[in-house]
Symmetry: C2
Subunit: 184 residues, 2 copies
Amino acid sequence: MRPVSIEDTPLIDALSRVISRHGFEAASLRLLSEATGLKRASLYHRFPGGKDEILEAALARAAERFSAMLAPAFAQGDPVERARQVADGIDEYYQGGQESCLIVALSLADEEHQKMAAPCLAAWADAFRTVLVDAGETPKVAAERAQDLVAQIEGALVIASASGDRGPFQRAVGRLPTELTQAA
Amino acid sequence: MRPVSIEDTPLIDALSRVISRHGFEAASLRLLSEATGLKRASLYHRFPGGKDEILEAALARAAERFSAMLAPAFAQGDPVERARQVADGIDEYYQGGQESCLIVALSLADEEHQKMAAPCLAAWADAFRTVLVDAGETPKVAAERAQDLVAQIEGALVIASASGDRGPFQRAVGRLPTELTQAA
DNA sequence: GGGTCTTTACCGAACGTTCTGTTTAGAGAA
DNA sequence: TTCTCTAAACAGAACGTTCGGTAAAGACCC
């Protein structure tokens, strides 16, 4: 059997990057094709469902990467160390603020595609909340602060995209270990 | 002379809302037409430069509204009161988190359109920085915290769009008066 | 006041391009 | 060969844009 010219994982990562950078609707098959080296027909061969199936694959991959990135939050051990590991994972995932966020991109999509980002967002907040609770925060406050910290990072990614200034992202990630482990 | 069917201000506000909600590329003339009640050809009569001129008008209007929203920050008087007025202005501008942000939308556009959002972002951070300095913060820390507070709000708006949860936005705006006036 | 004229606002129809999605034929490894 | 994958051409719809024409108001002269 003839081998694929690009493996599934790098293929989906490249597709996901285009969607994150341009938004789902603006991520045309031409852009997706150029980014992957596969012609449109070949993309349809790999994803018979078209753009929708590509988005599903990108989201499944994001969920997988998120799960790995957030795993230390749900582990046992010192909350400070776990928080630092999660912060490192976030920094690597978004390449210090250079990479766009799929959640931001989907927040501009139509309602049906928009709601597909909610689970990722919820998983993220839940990870932060878990560390905060383990660090002694009350459940109610922990849930809110977790959400707020996710917002801080998402907003920093928006600013990094819009102005090219990665400072807010780097500060947000740098503060994360202490923010996640000091109870109010 | 025949009267316009929709005045410039509500027209541009409606166009701006479509762009903010869907992003610049996804804001098709069909959507813009439906949102304003003007047919495509009529939009070209009002904006001969097409979508680019529509975006320029939306940005000019945003700069105008931002200027009004942030004016209390540059006024004289009690920083606490000024911060509260700015927070109220932000809450009203984004309708408690229901409205999308044009800056977020432009962060997904092509590079040439993307950079058009930078002045708005800078004006916003500068307003926060001014209040922080007046409240006794050092210039360097004030500049960074100002940016971080902008990121907090932008991120909260993304979460409000993506998940429908306006809690993060309302908390961010509610915290703003104290965040802007307590030196580290 | 009645009847043109001018000016502006708006719209229907069409332009060429690009989009998503399909079909068909050929290239390439087992 | 046989089977998988890819390339190229295709169709139909939507895109941004342009153009000719129509509708509506004020201006102006009679």
